[in-house]
């Protein structure tokens, strides 16, 4: 009897959470999967019309989808290694007991609290061709006018500028993840290694990096997902332009849903993004999974 009461009590406690998850997670998910198999224009259709796999077939013959996919891949391929490299190096520096690390730690973590949309507006002005601080520094202070660009309007620099903004925003968070990993490595391992004659580089390669496997996995998966769903700075800074230079998957899905009102196709793109993120996470988990001790 008491076991039944205990079971009932457990169910009573988790029911509100299940209701919330069901309402705000499961129902929208099932609904969006269903819509991806339909043709449904929010304005001109009365109800969704089931079309099977038509939307999925159209994906790969849609030139703008291919461009968005290519741009998103490029963004990910540049963003992912750079954020791991910068955040790891910064974490190593901040982990040292040098004077002033507290101040630098605060500075590096500050971008986390700035909304990316606000940062996008700020960087739009910094990167402006005629009024921007960056071009002013390069031209008038460093006397390097050949390096000035119309950063957000040139094909070669627009997407890279968005990567730079993403790095500025998220490197602090990744530094925290690496720092917590670094602080969990016992100090006596390093002492023993020093006694055995290991130099700093050897300690880094043979002690630090292997012991940060979990942190690398976490940062890798998180940063890949952030890169695949890049959106805020694109909308604020370039809106996918100039031309289609910075059109990315998330923005294209949003446009199909809320500008073209093609809900069915928008859901198809959204599902594709979700599936892509899931597959990449699984691959990374398999490759970088920490060994069981």
């Amino acid at each position: 009897m008491s076991k039944k009461i205990s079971t009932l009590t457990s169910w009573l406690f988790i029911t509100p959470s299940l209701l919330i998850i069901g309402t705000f997670l499961l129902y929208p998910l099932v609904s969006s999967i269903y819509l991806s198999f339909t043709n449904y224009n929010f304005v001109y259709s009365n109800k969704p019309e089931f079309t099977g796999f038509e939307n999925f077939k159209n994906l790969f013959s849609d030139s703008y989808f291919i461009i968005a996919l290519r741009n998103t891949f490029y963004y990910t391929l540049v963003f992912f290694p750079l954020i791991i490299l910068f955040s790891f190096l910064l974490a190593l520096l901040l982990n040292s007991k040098t004077k002033g690390t507290g101040f630098f730690q605060s500075t590096i973590l500050l971008p986390i609290v700035v909304p990316l949309s606000l940062a996008g507006v700020m960087f739009t002005w910094i990167l402006a061709k005629d009024f921007g601080i960056l071009n002013y520094l390069l031209d008038n202070i460093l006397k390097l006018p050949q390096l000035t660009h119309f950063w957000l309007a040139e094909k070669e620099t627009a997407l890279n500028s968005l990567v730079a903004v993403g790095l500025w925003k998220y490197v602090g968070f990744c530094v925290i993840l690496f720092l917590s990993g670094l602080k969990s490595i016992p100090g006596d391992i390093y002492e023993s290694a020093k006694v055995d004659g290991a130099n700093p580089l050897q300690r880094l390669i043979y002690i630090t990096i292997p012991n940060l496997r979990s942190s690398f996995l976490l940062v890798a998966i998180w940063s890949i997902i952030q890169a695949i769903k890049v959106y805020d700075q694109v909308v604020v800074m370039t809106k996918g332009g100039p031309g289609d230079s910075t059109l990315v998957l998330y923005l294209y899905a949003w446009k199909n849903a809320f500008v073209y009102f093609d809900m069915g196709y928008a859901q198809t793109i959204a599902l594709f993004i979700g599936a892509l993120a899931f597959i990449i996470s699984v691959i990374f988990n398999l490759v970088l999974k920490p060994e069981r001790k």
Binding site: S63, D130, P242, G243
Partner: protein, 420 residues
């Protein structure tokens, strides 16, 4: 005695009921618009003046963030009352709402002094869907050139009165830009001849304003939107050449405010955008330094216009009062002249512009307005805007030729539904 008292009570009761019935019922008018609209325009003054003639009315102001079609559509589809009057971005959104039968038409009130022939055709056409007017134009603009007279005088492009001689052809215009552009010793442009609004918000209007001016129509021989004529090719070639030679700025590829910022800071001598900017820029550089110049041949062929729209949803609680407010105050001459003097914007009525033709800016605008057209309503309007913007911006980045650009637009738009 008892009967007497009963009769007296009955009479008093009946009197009370009839007084209550006769008493004026207070009615609320709720107006919703994006917050900037309330800051810019004297809506409260309009309300005060309306209340003098309609003392039973009180107003509620609902300031929205960024208006998007979907939330309003959802609310109105479910018979939710949001407002009696909604001031929304473009009439193409009215098309979306009316596709679901969500709007009230103005046919019954467009009579007498508000008859359709009293309105500027381009603006009213923009608000007409299937032959009925479902929105009233507001905040209306035409695409034209705004130019610096002082720079033009330096370049020898003005007459004896100091007025800019309008360029007659694109070749003329190109030569103007060469004279207006200033470059430093290294060849870097320090002042552009022109800045053109090629942003996503403006591109389709900028492109078709050029087509209308050059051809007198935005359609080709097959009655499709023109992406194939020799004038279309000439226009794109002119733009690309101007960018390549450093005569035309590309600031708007990133920022739709780029051209007006260039004009305010003296970085450009001419701007190809909406006429209203002449007032905004004038507050910075001085109104006497600016002139509205027609796009080559626009005086003969007109240009393209666009506007915002005042809509009344079917869920409005006071439809008749809403219509009365829209016409009596939001289209009053004082309101129109306030918009013109302070922001350069137009309302839809002919008399409001005609009464100001003693001012050179409005004289030129009035002349161009006669042949000005609006874009047709299209189901896939938004997709077409993106295609045209993407292809022309790619051309301006020198990634493709004008011929490839037009071919790309034709190919990508071939599957779109471009009829209303």
């Amino acid at each position: 005695m008892f009967k007497k008292y009963m009769i007296i009570l009955l009479v008093i009761g009946l009197l009370g009921i009839s007084m209550t019935a006769l008493a004026v019922e207070k009615k609320e008018l709720k107006i919703t618009a994006e917050a900037w609209y309330f800051n810019k325009y004297p809506l409260e003054k309009a309300a005060e003046l309306f209340i003098k003639d309609h003392p039973e009315v009180t107003f509620i102001w609902s300031k929205a963030g960024d208006f998007e079609v979907a939330p309003l559509m959802l609310a109105w589809s479910r018979d939710n009352y949001i407002a009696d009057i909604a001031i929304v971005a473009t009439p193409s959104e009215a098309v979306s709402f009316q596709a679901k039968g969500l709007l009230v038409d103005f046919e019954d009130v467009l009579k007498g002094e508000y008859a359709k022939d009293k309105w500027l055709k381009g603006f009213l056409d923009d608000c007409t869907i299937d032959g009925k007017v479902y929105a009233i134009p507001t905040d209306a603009e035409i695409m034209t050139l705004v130019a610096r007279k002082d720079y033009a005088t330096e370049a020898g492009l003005t007459d004896e009165n100091g007025n800019i001689i309008p360029p007659r052809t694109l070749n003329d215009f190109y030569n103007y830009l060469k004279k207006l552009t200033i470059k430093d010793e290294s060849g870097k442009t320090v002042r552009y001849g022109m800045d053109v609004n090629w942003s996503n918000e403006y591109m389709i209007y900028t492109y078709f304003s050029g087509i209308q001016a050059l051809r007198g129509t935005i359609y080709d021989e097959d009655n499709n939107l023109d992406f194939s004529s020799k004038e279309a090719l000439e226009l794109l070639s002119f733009w690309q050449r101007g960018v390549k030679e450093g005569l035309i700025s590309t600031s708007s590829l990133v920022d739709h405010s780029g051209p007006r910022n260039s004009m305010k800071s003296g970085l450009a001598a001419v701007m190809w955008e909406d006429h209203a900017r002449v007032i905004e820029i004038g507050t910075v550089v001085g109104q006497d330094k600016l002139q509205i110049v027609p796009i080559p041949d626009a005086l003969t062929n007109g240009t393209v216009s666009y506007c915002m729209s005042l809509m009344i949803p079917k869920t409005a609680q006071n439809e008749e009062l809403a219509k009365a407010f829209v016409l009596e105050q939001l289209n009053a001459d004082w309101f129109a002249h306030y918009l013109m003097d302070n922001w350069g914007k137009l309302l839809g009525m002919k008399r409001q512009v005609e009464s100001r033709t003693d001012i050179p800016i409005w004289k030129t605008v009035s002349e161009i307005l006669e042949k000005t057209v609006s874009l047709p309503h299209m189901v896939d309007h938004a997709r077409l805007v993106d295609i045209v913007t993407t292809e022309i911006q790619n051309m301006l980045k020198l990634e493709q030729t004008p011929e490839e650009t037009l071919a790309g637009i034709r190919q990508k738009s071939s599957k779109l539904n471009l009829i209303n």
